[in-house]
Structures are given as structure tokens and as C-alpha cells.
Symmetry: C2
Subunit: 375 residues, 2 copies
């Protein structure tokens, strides 16, 4: 079924034929443009693109009035478990912006909730775990995630893929270190001291926890891909709290395993964490096709830190959007110019959209990147 | 007055003679050991030391029961303005630990409070500014800091220098970016969006603010040195939120000015910010004699990023102290081993002591570093 020529020559191309539906029933051609032709999926594969693709971390979320409206009476974890909400929220930014990809709306802790961990997302705080998990017994009670635990994911992704047509859907999951920190600290943590104490002081206990969380993360992404997601992003949000040696010893083996298993699904894998300047090479080494870079590391510098065969994603400082448009334009040009040092580039912010960001500026920014990079 | 030989050969040595008192009335010799002989001041000057000097950021603070006791009924800003409290709190860790230096107890916002900015430190939140400063008019109302605004500093430092004898006192001030962020955001901020919007979008307004804050910072340190502090540390805590180019354009000129002026005082200058892996070279370029490194960047890697003639301070992960002692020892040995790549080394944590840290572990850690490095 694979085809020669520019389309189908990419690393991930064999899975989806130029037209018709693949074995998962996904459409390959919409209005004469195939999903695999999309600049986003091509850039992930470091193939030439008609323009630099754009999406924004947290493009679906509090910055949009329509998001605040639909979420007004619906708690976060309920929204993440209702296919109608997931579809609506995932689609909202796609209706506003000419972004080149949608990102599955969820929260990092959704798979934990799905296996029965007693947790809630408290407004203004974040996820709060009723009973922090700090010993082997508690860890061993974390059971595997089964597709039946998350029927809403399959349903929502299926619907989204139909609505998005030729626009790729990126699957979403939190990384195992970040999940471990929530479970061990019992909520958001600035210093991750209990997490690190376990990682540094009880390596066997830590390994057991990380193995379980990695399997859960993998399954959460696998279900999204099986339902039609065209790429995945693993957000290990807080992994930047670790030194390179600690990341190498305590996280890399698990992330590597997740990415290796994801490799069998034949979709591009993006890996991102904030404050990971020292870890960029290791994030790539873990097996990511695309490494996300926060705004602290210029992309030309980041390109030197990742190994050959890695595309980059990023990295306009989200705070830039609070400055006048001329500043946004100038800084965006700088990002695009430095990105030429990368083998492939997906334009994004260096972290999530800030809640008070003006959506009109994001719309303008999307168009600006497309215009500036049109070939 | 300066002397040849190993003592007196350092860059900062001419100021303080081997014995007697200098022009500020500071003692030069106590029990046959001069202040300038102290391992801390020698390490700052990259001179050979009898053991690697140790101190801990936030060694005075909530981790100590005696601190919690004296602070129980005294609000933070009152404690920072009372000489008896400053002396007591600064001395508390020195009584417990064999640390090689004391650090003047204060808070970053004390000089702002002293010039009349309406602010308070709220427990569990941090500094809160009644009216955030976001335009030129408000900035122009920030007046200069005069020594008469802070008589308690002069009094407390004078007393401390007497009590500390041959143990150096490090002067303390917050850096101008961090002060600007508190003033502009109105309190602690995760994303510094208003601060960055001003820095990126209104460079002239930003320059006016930074000039005023730099002058205030300089004066706050100058008063401490005039009263007898033997070194200074500029904590620009949040500067790690900036990309290298933004730091270079928006902060470096001001820090450079502060350090140049401090150079006239002839005391070692330490510069620290958390998450500054990408900025280490620039922090040194600003004119620091010692660059503090957080735990994310191994010291051997940090040594490659700073220019010749710079000592390093750091950098055990503060969370390590929550792991068993064997882990603390092993990781400390690793820090000491990597530090051999630096021209001078002052042992410290990579960030402040966490409030729930066991003080006995810090005592043991201090002794351990001394033993491991005794020459």
C-alpha cells in the first residue's frame, strides 16, 4: 500500500495510503489533500513543507471565551471524560485559528483517575491526590489502564478525526515523572522533594512506580492512536526539575520504553518539558522524533544539543503576546530564522498559552508564520 | 598596607590588613586567624584553601526551630527591620553549623519598603505590592535609597561582624529583574507576563525602572559593605525566566553597572539565579567573581560556560537532603569531584534550604564537605 515519491517517502508514511481509509477507518484524502500531506506531519518527519506548521500548547483552554463558557458549569475531570466536551473544546481553537494541528483535550491525571486513583482537580490549585502514594504497597495497588477504562477517549478521538479531516490530531499524555510527582507529593509541587527522595533513595521502589506509570501512559496514548490520532506528544512537564544525571538514571529508561513501544504505532512522537535546556539531548535520545523547546534556549542552540534526525518544536516566549504586535512579529521572525538550524521545525510557543492571552493575537500569529514561511 | 605572600596576594586582599582593624573598624585578626585568611574569601578569589568552604542559601530560615520560634509573633518585614532580629536570625545557623560564612538576613523587597513602596509579605504568598507599578509616572515616584532609610542595616551588620569575628558576613540583595517583577506584577508571578511585556514592548520605560532599581540595589549592598560585610551576593532569583538574548538586552547592562560599582568596594561579588543554565556565561560577564549554579547544571559543565577568572558556587539539589545519608554523601562527593573543573569552589545547595529540611543533616553535610576536602 505504500507509495514511492515525495508522499510516502517519510518514515511514518507507509501506514496511511494516499486515499481511501486505512485499517483504522481513517480518511486518507479530504478535498484532494491527504492527511499525510499535512505540513505538520511532514515537518515531524523532517520533510519539505509548503509552510512551517503552527499549533499552540494549551490552544484549547482558558484563553478562549468559548472555552470558559462551556466549562462554566462543568468540572475539569468531568469535561475530560465527556466525549461531547472533549470534541467541542478540542475543536474550538481549530475554528478560530488556522493552526496546522489539533491537540486532544485532556489533563495529565485523566489516566490515573481512570484506574481509580482518588484525585480531583481543584480550581486555582491543580490536581490533588487524596492519599499520596509513597510506599511499595500503595504503588502495587496502581493497576493497569485498559481501553475499557477510557471509552470516552475512543469515542471523542473518532469523532474528532472525522471533523478535523485533513488536519492532524495530536494525542496527549503526561510523562511518568510528572505523574509520579503528583502521586507522591499529593498535588502540584515546586520542589518535588518527596519524589526526588524516592528516586534518589529508594531506586527499586521508584522503578516499580515508573514501570507502572509508563505502562499507563503508553496505553493512554495507544488508545488515542488506535482511534485515529496522527501523532502524540508526551508532556513530562516537570522533568526540568532534574539534573541530566538524574534524568538519565531515573526517567530516561522509562521514557525510552514508552517511545519504543509507540514506535510500533508508526506515528510521530513529540516530547516536551519546560526548563529542559540541559536535557534536550536526552529527550531526543529517549526516542522522540520531535523535541519541544521552551523559550529559554534559542532554537539554533537547541539544534546543536539534539542528535541528527530530530525535528524541533517551539519556541516563542508566551509572554511575548502581551507586547505590541511589532514586537511579536520581530521575535517570531527571530524564532523562524534560528529554526533554520533544525532539520524540521514546528512553530509553537515555548510553553502553554497563558490564560489572559488575546486570542486575536494568536490568530494573527498563526497567519504571520504561514505567510513568512510560505514556499 | 598590603602584604606579599599567599595572604594578601588575592585580588581583594589590600583592603584588610593582616591584623588590627581596617578603616571601617573591622577586625583583621581573631585568634591568630585573619578574616581574609578565611576559606570562603580565599575561594572567592580562586586562591588555595585549607578546605572547601560551605554555606547554604536560606541557612537562616524556616528549617530551623529556633527561627520559627523567634518569628512566631514577628511579621517578616518587621523582623527584617529590627537589628536584634536580624542579628539573632543571621547567627542561628552559624551556631548550629560549621558554615564558613553567614548571610545577612533580609528579604528582597526590604529596600523597596524602605523607600516607601506600599507592600507587605503575606504568609504563604510572598511579597504583595498594593499598587503595581506599570507606567513611567509610577516609576518616577520610586526615589533613591539613602543610608538613613536603613539604619537597622548598619546597626545589625556592625554587631554581626563583631560576633562573627573571623567568619565572613555575606551582604544580601535581590537583583533588579526580580524586584521589577514584584513591582510590575504586584506579587510573585509564574510567568512574569506584564514584566516581559514592558521589557519587550516599552524599552525606554523598562530602562528607567531598571536604572532606579539598580541604584537602590547598589545602595542596599553598599551600606552592608560599609558596615563590615566581607562579600555580597546578588540574588536575581527569577532571571532564569529570560532567554539569553533578553537577559543580554534587558538585564545585563544594569547588573554590569551594579557589579562595576561594587568593584570599587573591593569585596567579592557572587551572582545567583535559579534555572540560569543558559545564562551562566552572562552572569559572569556581568562582573561577578563567583557565579552560583543551581543543581540542574553539573559544575564541570558550568565551568565551561563561565569565562576564565570566575569561581563557582553550588550545587547539591536541596531535595537530596530528604534521601538517606548515604545518598547525600555520594551526591556531595559527585559535586566536589565535578567542582575540580572550576577555578574556585564554594560548596552550597543549588537553591535555598527547603523549609522541611532536617537541620542535623545540614550540620553533617557541612562537616562532611570539610572532611572530604581537607588539605
Amino acid at each position: 500500500m505504500s507509495r514511492p515519491g515525495p508522499i510516502g517517502s517519510g518514515r511514518f508514511a507507509p501506514r496511511l495510503p494516499r486515499s481511501g481509509r486505512d485499517r483504522l477507518g481513517r480518511r486518507g484524502t479530504i478535498n484532494g489533500v491527504t492527511l499525510q500531506d499535512s505540513p505538520f506531519l511532514r515537518a515531524c518527519q523532517r520533510l519539505p513543507v509548503s509552510h512551517t506548521p503552527v499549533w499552540f500548547m494549551r490552544q484549547a483552554g482558558r484563553s478562549l471565551p468559548e472555552y470558559r463558557r462551556v466549562r462554566a458549569d462543568v468540572p475539569m475531570l468531568e469535561a475530560c471524560a465527556r466525549p461531547d466536551m472533549i470534541v467541542e473544546i478540542t475543536m474550538q481553537p481549530v475554528r478560530r485559528y488556522e493552526v496546522d494541528a489539533a491537540i486532544y483535550f485532556s489533563d495529565i491525571v485523566v489516566p490515573l483517575k481512570a484506574i481509580g486513583v482518588d484525585l480531583d482537580i481543584k480550581s486555582g490549585v491543580g490536581p490533588v491526590v487524596a492519599e499520596p502514594i509513597r510506599d511499595l504497597d500503595a504503588i502495587k495497588r496502581l493497576r493497569d489502564l485498559e481501553p475499557d477504562d477510557i471509552p470516552f477517549v475512543t469515542e471523542a478521538v473518532g469523532e474528532l478525526v472525522g471533523e478535523l479531516a485533513d488536519r492532524p490530531l495530536i494525542g496527549f499524555a503526561g510523562g511518568p515523572f510528572t505523574l509520579a510527582s503528583y502521586l507522591i507529593e499529593g498535588g502540584p509541587s515546586k520542589n518535588h522533594e518527596h519524589t526526588k527522595a524516592m528516586m534518589y533513595g529508594e531506586p527499586d521502589v521508584w522503578a516499580e512506580l515508573m514501570q507502572r506509570l509508563s505502562a499507563i501512559t503508553l496505553e493512554f496514548l495507544r488508545v488515542q492512536v488506535a482511534a485515529g490520532a496522527s501523532a502524540v506528544q508526551l508532556f513530562d512537564s516537570w522533568v526540568g526539575a532534574l539534573s541530566p544525571e538524574d534524568y538519565r538514571a531515573g526517567v530516561l529508561p522509562y521514557t525510552k520504553w514508552i517511545f519504543a513501544k509507540l514506535g510500533e504505532l508508526n506515528v510521530p512522537r513529540i516530547h516536551f518539558g519546560v526548563g529542559t535546556g540541559e536535557l534536550l539531548g536526552l529527550l531526543g535520545e529517549a526516542g522522540a522524533d520531535v523535541v519541544g523547546v521552551d523559550w529559554r534556549v534559542p532554537l539554533d542552540r537547541a539544534a546543536q544539543r539534539v542528535q541528527a534526525g530530530t525535528a524541533l518544536q517551539g519556541n516563542l516566549d508566551p509572554a511575548t503576546l502581551f507586547a505590541p504586535w511589532e514586537v511579536v512579529a520581530e521575535r517570531t521572525r527571530d524564532v523562524l530564522s534560528r529554526a533554520r538550524a533544525a532539520e524540521g521545525h514546528i512553530f509553537n510557543l515555548g510553553h502553554g498559552v497563558l490564560p489572559t492571552t488575546d486570542p486575536d493575537k494568536l490568530a494573527r500569529l498563526t497567519d504571520f508564520v504561514h505567510q513568512e514561511t510560505a514556499r
